[in-house]
Subunit: 148 residues, 4 copies
């Protein structure tokens, strides 16, 4: 329920659980740091399915949404054989940007493994030009999803 006097914007979340693949570890015996961006991608996928705004929905509407910024803070390692929960939280942005924050939680150690953030922009799939304004289909979705 939204409080009319509350100025905080709503966020939407989704989560997914992954098993660490052997090929995702490195010679230190833990998940290679670059693979956390794959886990973030997994959580965005889960988000798209749950909230009806998947990558293919963007694509079918004529847009690519490439990542223009990524940040990861690594807190504790994930080993082979461990499971992790990845949570993605969409933040409302007035600009034509898609901003996600992430949390990776090691389910075996009960510790936060990493936090992070990505920013995506809207690119016209045909012209590959940047969209300065949010596309209408996306604004309609933000409203229906209660993000506005």
């Amino acid at each position: 329920m939204r409080n009319e006097n509350c100025t905080e914007l709503k966020t939407l979340t989704a989560e997914t659980t992954i098993n660490v693949r052997f090929g995702e570890t490195d010679a230190m015996g833990v998940v290679w740091h670059g693979n956390y961006l794959k886990y973030f991608e997994d959580a965005r996928e889960a988000f798209g399915l749950v909230h009806n705004m998947a990558y293919l929905d963007f694509y079918n509407a004529g847009y690519f949404t490439p990542i223009v910024k990524s940040e990861v803070d690594y807190k504790s390692p994930i080993h082979y054989g461990e499971k992790a929960r990845i949570i993605a939280r969409l933040l409302y942005s007035p600009a034509a940007k898609i901003i996600f924050e992430y949390e990776i939680f090691n389910l075996n150690t009960n510790r936060i493994s990493a936090t992070g953030k990505t920013i995506q922009i809207f690119l016209n799939a045909a012209s590959r030009e940047l969209e300065i304004n949010k596309p209408d289909f996306y604004k309609a979705w933000e409203k229906s999803a209660g993000l506005l």
Copy 2:
């Protein structure tokens, strides 16, 4: 030099040298087995540049050449910090196939690390249909390269 009485078909080779990336190793401390297919790809790239038949040449002629078969025999590991030479050898095929054999040589241990093979086919890039016959541009290249 080709012997006119020799029935053996000519092969073409190319090679490249790679440094093992830390992110390519796994928790056993050696290159993860799936990454050998990346090294094969590196050698095909080198082949394309040396012999003027790169992936983009296929693409510009209207073809994709997806891999339909891969085989790798792993002989000895490659560790982080080691260098390896990857050799690709194109075998002549009368069919509309591109057949490469590979050898990966660990330059630090002086041992063969792996051998392998890939088979590619010709796909019409527009229709994504299989080409039963070798495209003319490729037959012309085979001739000019002395492969026939």
Copy 3:
């Protein structure tokens, strides 16, 4: 049920379902061929969990089981957004080898995407020496699993 007069050896299977990650596709818009070895790995993981012989069980018994041979036959592509089922079937081997056959089934197209095979050997984790004979713990497991 095993027929006492039947000379065919039993096989054990396990399966898992994967969602194709965007980062697993390539510029042809389909899963990059090298990633199929990751999917095979996913199926081996599932096998290990279902049949109580996971990678960590080998490790805790003092063995690594590196892959010495891999084969993949690519039949039809998997696109981003599609789901695939990967089935791993363990074949009985009298030698000190672990032989798996695989089938990848595209759940969106209802077509077989790939078949494949891997062979693993037993390596003493401490000495990194090849084990000529099957370790006792593995023979015991084969018996209890009904593979013999």
Copy 4:
């Protein structure tokens, strides 16, 4: 030449050039964003070789140096078949941290493709405990490299 009156700290740089692998692209036809962290790793490798402080030097001194933070700002895409130069710049840090800044330059388009940053810490390889202070071998190297 160092100006005695100058309070700016010296930085050390190294660079490497990479060819984009086909398997590093994604279905948008450009390098998948997670692979930029591999390119950063390539530049750190080059740095280690040029400045005699490679990953194995840390390891042989008894330390792992895991990444605790990564940031990437993506400016323009890199396509298959393009070459890129990756520059790593080590910043002096008074704390027990290794801070690199990166620039990826697309040699085909003459545009900056990305900038980024990583922070590494010192971990005792045996105990996996965090080192609060810079190890002596590293301080000696900083001095000899003129970073102090």
